[in-house]
């Protein structure tokens, strides 16, 4: 996955995107106010709020994470919910370990 690897590394080259991935690791702790069940993911609006940036800024970062396969998203009604993609993250870490 040379191309995928590039895309993932680029996606990680921004502190906010790495922070979002960390927040999504512990949704109960980081997004206790979400009304929808956290099992479907964390709502984009909750992530905007926690980041303290505009919806469009955070939305662009989430799209980058999703293109790289680091998060998955699910649309329910008008809302978008995000989850970490543990498979991709773990495969990436192993690949990087080998490649470096």
């Amino acid at each position: 996955m040379p191309d995928e690897l590039d895309e993932i590394i680029k996606a990680l080259a921004h502190p906010l995107r790495r922070e979002i991935l960390q927040w999504l690791k512990e949704p109960e702790r980081n997004f206790p106010d979400q009304e929808h069940p956290l099992s479907i993911g964390v709502c984009a609006g909750q992530i905007d709020q926690r980041a303290g940036f505009s919806q469009s800024t955070v939305s662009a970062h989430l799209a980058t994470l999703q293109r790289a396969g680091l998060v998955t998203s699910r649309k329910v009604g008008q809302w978008h919910f995000f989850k970490r993609n543990e498979d991709t993250i773990q495969t990436f870490l192993q690949r990087l370990q080998q490649e470096l």
Copy 2:
């Protein structure tokens, strides 16, 4: 090291820079034609040749790797020799594992 981390990730976000790091892992195998002893590092000219790109292109990539702390360089006469910086590479991999 949030800033160092960013700089390292950006440095790794280019396939040639990752390839150079891999080549430097096995200098004897990848640069058998170097006349200077490989113990002082691999000469920039050898890396240019193997990469098949111009001296200025490769030199810019080597500078990026060096700024990020992923390689160290030593000047002997008119030549620049490069080595992997294993400490930084291993610390980075551990940090990323924790941060992701």
